[in-house]
Symmetry: none
Subunit: 194 residues, 4 copies
């Protein structure tokens, strides 16, 4: 069969269900049904319900990180890189709004319940942005007195908030605008003042 593996189907179904109802209001049986498997089958692939969420989160973060690294590869300036970072993130949101919603919401919700592994996946993603900032500072493009990690987090919060607004609204044309405005604010915000 050339259809995705069961494990994959379960994860995809989970994204769909979790984004529609929220993690705590989703039932495992709903996910099973959406995945076209029996309830019990879920437990052959995941220890429990929470493990599905964790996996969705990690998978997505890693995929995003990977996409970012590929897109950033070869770019010269930090300015270009930051622009790209924001664009890639919004592209993911644009292509998969449900996934974005799950990420964004559950990242918070689960918060302190997240395992270290998950925080690390998130940390790696933030690290990409932080590195861009640091590079920009080293190259003299960005103000040197901002803490890269903090800026990265701020940037993520801004992007994420706009993503959520976008995912929850019906006006699907906002991505482009969200992208350009975020870039404008942050690039200006980070630019070295002479």
């Amino acid at each position: 069969m050339e259809q995705p593996s069961k494990r994959r189907r379960i994860l995809d179904a989970a994204v769909e269900i979790f984004s529609r109802y929220g993690f705590y209001n989703s039932k495992v049986s709903q996910v099973a049904k959406a995945a076209g498997v029996a309830d019990g089958t879920i437990y052959l692939y995941f220890k429990n319900k929470e493990a599905i969420l964790i996996q969705v989160f990690e998978d997505t973060m890693e995929e995003l990180s990977s996409k970012q690294r590929m897109a950033l590869d070869g770019l010269e300036t930090a300015t270009d890189k930051l622009r790209t970072f924001v664009r890639v993130h919004f592209e993911m949101v644009g292509r998969n709004p449900e996934l974005a919603e799950v990420l964004t919401v559950e990242l918070r919700q689960s918060g302190k319940f997240m395992r270290d592994a998950d925080m690390r996946a998130f940390g790696r993603y933030l690290g990409i942005a932080a590195r861009i900032v640091a590079e920009g500072q080293a190259a003299g493009e960005f103000s040197p007195d901002l803490r890269p990690r903090r800026v990265a987090r701020m940037l993520f919060g801004a992007i994420d908030e706009l993503s959520l607004e976008w995912a929850m609204s019906a006006r699907r044309k906002l991505v482009e605008e969200a992208y350009s405005q975020t870039v404008r604010v942050f690039l200006n915000g980070l630019n070295r003042k002479e």
Copy 2:
């Protein structure tokens, strides 16, 4: 007796419990116990568990809005106002990290389940920031080609993300830094480029 009203005690207890365990992992009986009332008493003041969360959210948003309006009153420039807006928000977080955490996390979680009333409370808060941006544009302080509402949302996301990081970490000195860096990035980001 000069102690707070039962209703108030329940709300305070809810913030404590919700922030510690998350809304869905909190039990009404825990809230009752923390409030020093019987389980049933909760239901004299709130229709159900969710109504407590909603109320916490609305109360806080209104209080924050009110604090902002007072702090902003009399300020001249949009630049000053934006700086103040960020400061007031972080001050609240600094004084009441648990409350901030509940707000920030549950705002997302409940997301689309939120009632109009709640979205409106949130919308009013955003409106304050949006108006500052618009005023700044009208006065020539800020770039005119940014959409105030979008910027307000971006700003909220950034602040909120830093708040969450801060609330969940033990290093309580970050507030001051978070404030100053946010202000720097956003003020520069919004400034009119000549």
Copy 3:
């Protein structure tokens, strides 16, 4: 004040509420509200919720018995008496359908939970009908080989079933018909066959 005593008001309110929602679906607070007293006041007059029902039942049975005795007093033949018994019962139903419904329904529902006292009140009412039958048999009006108590019960069941149908329907003109048909069937049924 010339209004009814609180105790009376509570009983009347109970009849209204119990008939509308059924005993188990009625809340004490509803009864209190309908009676215009505080919840706690109920417990100054009745030991508990069930005691209200019991009292309603006993009161009504005694009142019915009393009405029957007055109506029957002076009548000569058992035939006349039986006719009157049926008429008086249906008159009560006609005047106070809610009361009838409570009686009829709760008599069954409470069934084995009823105290002896209540069964005795009911027994006394049945006794009136049974005595009529026995007198009719002694006078040669009715067949001698029917057990009066059994017939009384049968009669009560028949009347009661029609009452219930009537109380629950909107067609309030049936009482007269129910009366005449019941009398016809039972008088013929009891008549001595030669």
Copy 4:
């Protein structure tokens, strides 16, 4: 396994428990225990507690109706049919007093809360008796000026009342007597007077 289905076991257990404690005083967990299943299993077969009662009611009514139709099939006169109708009803009561009690009691209790479906099951049963009366009238056996439906209801009330008395007493020999006396009263009552 040749033992009854779980669904069947639950219904049987419900009859036992409901008749012993009354519907509102019965706990779902009691029914589950009596049926030998877990509490949750009940909800795989019934939407909620009330649905069990409804099902018991409908099942029994249909079974009774079916029994009646089979017993009546082939009988010639309405007199014979009426006699049979009463006998079959009392036989059911004699074989399954608990079931009878649940029926009789809860039929009233639930009263106006009953769904149309249930009233229809009851209506069909009444219809059988009503048809007998109508046939008897058409054949000249019974007085033509009684309304069949009303008489059917009266008959049901009488039978039912005796059933209840019987179910609640310990003297289990009364069925035969109840049968013969009911038949006597009603047949005479309905007979055409010349």
